[in-house]
C-alpha cells in the first residue's frame, strides 16, 4: 500500500478513483448516521440538543485524526525525504483547521443551552480542540511565511513533529487541569456509557467524517501534485 502510494503515477491512478469512491461512502455514512440521529428520542438530560453531538463529536475526532495524519506525513517526509509525503502534510493542514473550526462552533452552540454560556472552560475536550486549532494555525502561518518552498516545507515538518509529541501532553495537561478546577467532569458525550440509540449514529457519523476527510485529503494531495508540476513546468518554460 505504502510503496504503491510512493510511486507518483500509481498514486495519481489510485487516488483518481479512491477519492470519489471515498466521497460517496462518506456521504452514505454521514446520511445514515444523521438520519438515525435525528430520529433518536430526546435525551432525558440534554433533551433535543443531543442532536448536536452527532456533528460536533465526529468533527473533533477528525480534527485529531487530521493532526495525526499531518504529523505522520511530516515524519515520513523528514526521514525519507519523500515529496508526496510533504504534499500530504501540506494538504492536511487546512482540512484539519476547518474541522477544528466546525468542532469549536458546534461545541459552543451545544454548550450554550446546556450550561448557559457560549464558552465553558470546564469542558476539557473543547479546550483541547481550541489548542489544536492554534497548532494548525501556527503550522500554516509558518509554512506561509517562508518564501523558499523547500525550506518552508522542512521547517513546517519539524514543527509538526514537535506538535505531534506535544499533543498528547497538551491533551493530558488540559484534562488534568480540568479535574483540578472542576472536581468532576461535566463532559458526558462519547463515553462508553452512551446509550446505543445515540452511540450507533455517532459511530456512523464518525466513520463518515473520517471517510470525508480521506476523500478531501486525497483530492487536495492531487491538487498539490498538479500545482508542483505546473510551477516547475512554468519555470522550465521561462528559463528555456
Amino acid at each position: 500500500m505504502f510503496s504503491a502510494l510512493a510511486n507518483p503515477a500509481r498514486f495519481m491512478a489510485f487516488s483518481r478513483w479512491a477519492a470519489p469512491i471515498l466521497g460517496v461512502i462518506a456521504a452514505g455514512l454521514i446520511g445514515a448516521g444523521l438520519w438515525l440521529g435525528l430520529n433518536a428520542p430526546p435525551d432525558y438530560q440534554q433533551g433535543e440538543t443531543v442532536k448536536i453531538m452527532f456533528i460536533h463529536v465526529p468533527a473533533a475526532w477528525v480534527a485529531m485524526l487530521a493532526y495525526a495524519c499531518l504529523g505522520g506525513a511530516s515524519f515520513v517526509s523528514l526521514v525519507f525525504r519523500h515529496a508526496r509525503a510533504d504534499a500530504a502534510a501540506k494538504a492536511a493542514a487546512p482540512l484539519g483547521a476547518a474541522f477544528t473550526g466546525v468542532a469549536l462552533v458546534t461545541g459552543s452552540l451545544w454548550g450554550r443551552p446546556m450550561w448557559g454560556a457560549w464558552w465553558v472552560w470546564g469542558d476539557a475536550r473543547l479546550v483541547s480542540v481550541l489548542v489544536l486549532f492554534l497548532l494548525f494555525l501556527g503550522y500554516m502561518a509558518l509554512r506561509a511565511s517562508i518564501d523558499d518552498e523547500a525550506k518552508g516545507a522542512r521547517a513546517a515538518e519539524i514543527l509538526a513533529l514537535v506538535g505531534l509529541i506535544n499533543l498528547p501532553i497538551i491533551k493530558y495537561s488540559v484534562e488534568w487541569w480540568n479535574t483540578l478546577h472542576q472536581g468532576e467532569s461535566i463532559m458526558r458525550a462519547g463515553g462508553p456509557a452512551l446509550d446505543p440509540v445515540y452511540l450507533m449514529p455517532l459511530l456512523l457519523a464518525g466513520a463518515g467524517y473520517s471517510a470525508a476527510f480521506g476523500a478531501l485529503w486525497l483530492e487536495r494531495i492531487r491538487a498539490e501534485v498538479w500545482r508542483r508540476r505546473a510551477t516547475s513546468l512554468a519555470l522550465r518554460v521561462a528559463l528555456a
Binding site: D148, A150, T231, S232, L235
Partner: protein
C-alpha cells in the same frame, strides 16, 4: 587530517534551478584550486556543499585522510575553514573577543590568535569594536582564524574582494605557505589567485 577532497559527478540545485551537473574535481594535499565561473554559476554553492551545508542532488563529496576515507562530518568539523562574504563578526563586540572566539572555536589557541593578528597587521585594532573597522580590516580579521587555528582545507569565497594591494600580496604569501605545508585550498574568485592554482570552471 584531510589529505584529499574528492568531488564526484556532483549536481547542485538552488530552489528549482539546477546550477550544474557532472562536476568532477579532486584536490590533493599541497594543491590550490581556483573556481571560475560567471555570477550565479554556483561557485558559492559548491563551497557550501563541500562544507556540508547544501545537500547534493546527485553525486558525492568525500574526504580522504592519510589512512583512507574520512567520515564527512568529522572531516568538516575538524579540518575545514569556510571564509565567505559573511564573516560572522558581531559589530558590537571588540575585535579581540571575536578573534579569540573564532580562533578557539576552530581549535586554535589565544597566543596563536594574537600571532595571527600580528601577521595580518591587526594588533593595533584589537581593542576596537568590530563596527568601526573598514571592510578590508574586517576581512583580515576573519582571515586571521585561518592562521590562528590550523586546519588543512580552506574554502575561500572571494577572499581578495575587499582587500587592498598590500593585503592581497600578504594573503598570497599565507596561502602559498599553507599549500607548501600540505594544505588544500579551494577558492571562488573573479580575479586570478596570487598563487599558482589549477582552475576549475563551473558552468551549467
Amino acid at each position: 587530517m584531510i589529505t584529499a577532497l574528492n568531488v564526484e559527478d556532483l549536481a547542485l540545485q538552488r530552489g528549482e534551478r539546477v546550477l550544474f551537473r557532472h562536476l568532477h574535481m579532486r584536490v590533493a594535499a599541497g594543491e590550490a584550486v581556483a573556481l571560475a565561473g560567471s555570477n550565479g554559476a554556483g561557485k558559492t554553492s559548491l563551497l557550501r556543499a563541500v562544507a556540508g551545508f547544501i545537500r547534493p542532488v546527485t553525486g558525492r563529496i568525500a574526504f580522504e585522510g592519510a589512512a583512507g576515507a574520512l567520515p564527512s562530518d568529522d572531516a568538516r568539523r575538524a579540518g575545514c575553514h569556510l571564509v565567505g562574504h559573511q564573516d560572522g563578526l558581531k559589530p558590537e563586540r571588540r575585535a579581540r573577543d571575536e578573534l579569540l572566539f573564532q580562533a578557539r572555536w576552530h581549535g586554535g589557541t589565544a597566543s596563536g590568535a594574537l600571532n595571527a593578528a600580528d601577521r595580518l597587521g591587526l594588533t593595533r585594532l584589537l581593542g576596537l569594536e568590530v563596527r568601526v573597522l573598514s571592510a578590508g580590516q574586517r576581512r583580515r580579521l576573519a582571515l586571521a582564524r585561518l592562521i590562528a587555528s590550523p586546519r588543512p582545507l580552506w574554502l575561500l569565497d572571494e577572499p581578495l574582494a575587499p582587500l587592498d594591494a598590500d593585503s592581497r600580496v600578504l594573503l598570497g604569501v599565507i596561502m602559498a605557505e599553507h599549500v607548501a605545508t600540505g594544505g588544500l585550498i579551494v577558492a571562488a574568485v573573479h580575479d586570478p589567485l596570487p598563487i599558482v592554482a589549477r582552475t576549475v570552471g563551473i558552468a551549467p
